[in-house]
């Protein structure tokens, strides 16, 4: 890929709404992405391989649990910082951002929020440093948008439980040292349980032939009579609100991340339109291209404002799940539409790996589906405003 010439876009001077520390974190992550992600990511995506060598760097820039308190190895930062980190990483690649999201929101968050003090001390520092990577098991082959129907369950076995079932579409599964798994207890109540890599009967076959998130490792979690100590059950949550709390945190990060992907597509298309000459002048001077670019920056600016406000609410512990759904749905769809329009501006060059747009576009097809599909988030908003449940 040619040199990464990305520049941030801030049409409404949103930087003035950020603190000095927010900007320092954002700029540092942006610099790191330019140095360590942009030069390699196309190659890894083409080869469908996760670049494991970036894990130390991700930990170093604070991508693993930035809002987890420092005493557990986290960054002790606020939610806007978390969002900005996700934005900058996804500007590089949604797959890399997925790895960071899973580690922070789906593994560290539940251990911090629902775990015992012993579990926090045992797992969080190693997850923050990247020494251990984690994954999150909720979705099953026959239970995606309807997780409450899950079949994975455990039975009692003294000071252990015996876990059986399977999960699929699990980011980080092939290399994770531990999995936060949601399974039904003998009474049929959904509980969180930490399954460790070396437990007999636990395997993580990799999912191959994806056309999306190719630089991210995806797999299944298979539990065949896995004996897990009861000490690994998250004691402080029961029911679906456990995994949904994690998803709220991850969806919030995705809402920011999508802006990163959108900005990269817009930035690439804008520069291309200023340099590509047809009919004797830059194509950016033609009305049809300007329409695309003007609409892109308008949508990016709206998404930035929406997400910043959501971040303020989240810092104040006032962001509702429905507000987070709206932002995730709006921003991911916005990014996907921008990727498609930006690809048009680049013409044939847009489909090549010389530019990041097609990779972002394909990645975003996953992002618009995972962590609640585009349609499900619409129903969440619909239920919130009408009071009627249209899911079933």
């Amino acid at each position: 890929m040619p040199q990464d010439r990305f520049q941030g876009h801030d049409y409404y001077l949103m930087d003035e709404l950020l603190t000095e520390e927010h900007r320092l974190v954002r700029d540092s992550v942006r610099e790191w992405v330019k140095r360590d992600i942009s030069p390699i990511i196309e190659d890894y995506a083409q080869r469908a391989e996760f670049p494991t060598q970036i894990i130390d760097g991700l930990a170093g820039i604070g991508a693993f649990g930035p809002y987890i308190p420092a005493e557990y190895g986290g960054g002790g930062m606020d939610q806007i910082t978390y969002g900005l980190i996700m934005q900058e990483i996804e500007r590089g690649d949604s797959g890399v951002r997925s790895t960071a999201s899973v580690q922070s929101s789906l593994v560290m968050y539940p251990i911090y929020t629902y775990g015992s003090e012993e579990q926090r001390r045992k797992f969080l520092p190693k997850l923050a440093s990247g020494e251990w990577m984690g994954c999150f098991g909720l979705t099953e082959p026959n239970h995606g948008s309807n997780p409450s129907g899950m079949l994975t369950h455990y039975t009692d076995d003294g000071d252990h439980v015996i876990l059986n079932g399977s999960k699929m579409w699990i980011s980080n599964a092939p290399f994770a040292q531990l999995a936060v798994v949601w399974a039904k207890d003998p009474e049929g109540v959904i509980r969180g349980i930490i399954v460790e890599r070396d437990m007999p009967g636990f395997s993580t076959p990799e999912t191959h032939n994806k056309w999306s998130l190719r630089a991210s490792a995806t797999g299944e979690l298979v539990f065949d009579n896995v004996r897990v100590p009861k000490a690994n059950i998250l004691p402080n949550v029961k029911g679906l609100k456990g995994p949904l709390g994690c998803l709220n945190s991850a969806r919030y990060g995705i809402a920011w991340g999508a802006i990163g992907a959108a900005m990269d597509c817009y930035d690439t298309a804008l520069r291309y339109s200023q340099e590509r000459i047809q009919f004797g002048r830059p194509i950016g001077g033609f009305q049809l291209q300007q329409k695309k670019l003007a609409e892109m920056i308008t949508e990016i600016t709206k998404a930035q404002l929406l997400t910043w406000r959501l971040g303020v609410l989240k810092n104040e512990n006032r962001a509702t799940p429905a507000q987070i759904s709206m932002a995730k749905r709006n921003n991911v769809n916005m990014a996907l539409q921008i990727a498609r329009e930006a690809r048009q501006i680049l013409g044939g060059m847009g489909i090549t790996g010389e530019y990041p747009i097609m990779r972002h576009m394909m990645n975003l097809e996953s992002v618009i589906t995972y962590e609640g599909t585009h349609d499900i988030h619409l129903l969440i908003t619909g239920m919130d405003v009408t009071g009627f449940n249209a899911f079933t």
Binding site: Q7, L13, E20, E21, R23, L24, V25, S28, E31, W32, R35, G60, I61, G62, P66, A70, G75, G76, M77
Partner: protein, 245 residues
């Protein structure tokens, strides 16, 4: 070892430069400022040396309070403390006078600057500072090693390199090759919150120079294509229009 690194606050390299209406100063509206890249190299080498041999690194900047994010970034990269001399940097002599007034009381073993700032490219502060402090001065240094109170410095010269040895204390200006700049990490950003940033009042300095006006280079003209068979026309254009022959 006690090291001082002098930091400039300069427009980001991608900035589209415009001037204020009087054409005597830069229009900073919407401009993003960064640590001068050569100063970042100096800072990184200072950190490498003190990490290996023990010591402290102080970063110093002459500027108003709007430039503190630049110093905070230097602290996040690893500097131990920061000093801001509270004045707008008027010219190189003014800056060198401010730094020397502060540094002469501090007994630094080593003072590093960048080879030049990438905004006005004066490349004068380092030498002036050494003169004002009565210290040895080595400019545009590609490699800096320190052992037993003695510095070994390498400079690139026409067709080769120059290796200089010099006792500490000294003033040196850094260029590419001395160190690979570091990106602040989360731990560094967290610890920068509590590192000391001292604001020092400026000293009086006489005014010797004024900027009369600033001008941007003329825009590049478009390429003229001359047919390969029209050599006479090509020579004529090179002679009369481009004035290169």
């Amino acid at each position: 070892m006690k090291v001082l690194v002098c930091i400039s606050n300069v427009p980001d390299t991608t900035t589209k430069i415009t001037f204020n209406d009087d054409n005597k100063s830069l229009n900073i509206n919407g401009v993003q400022f960064i640590i001068n890249p050569y100063d970042e190299i100096a800072l990184t080498r200072a950190l490498e040396l003190t990490e290996a041999q023990g010591g402290t690194v102080t970063v110093l900047h002459v500027g108003d309070s709007s430039t503190e994010p630049t110093l905070r970034k230097a602290l996040a990269i690893g500097a131990h403390d920061a000093v801001r001399i509270d004045a707008l940097p008027r010219d190189a002599f003014f800056v060198a006078m401010q730094i020397s007034a502060y540094a002469k009381e501090q007994n630094y073993d080593l003072i590093l600057t960048g080879r030049e700032s990438i905004d006005y490219n004066g490349a004068q502060v380092s030498s002036m500072l050494a003169e004002l402090l009565d210290l040895p001065s080595v400019n545009i240094v590609k490699s800096l090693q320190i052992e037993g109170g003695q510095a070994s410095l390498e400079r690139e010269i026409e067709g080769g390199k120059e290796v200089i040895s010099c006792p500490l204390p000294l003033v040196a200006s850094a260029t590419e090759g001395m160190a690979e700049p570091r990106i602040p990490n989360m731990r560094g950003i967290m610890s920068a919150r509590t590192k000391p940033l001292t604001v020092v009042p400026a000293v009086e300095v006489p005014v010797y120079q004024h900027i009369e006006r600033l001008e941007k280079p003329a825009p590049r003209s478009s390429v003229k294509l001359v047919d390969a068979t029209e050599t006479v026309k090509l020579v004529g254009l090179l002679h009369q229009e481009a004035k290169v022959i």
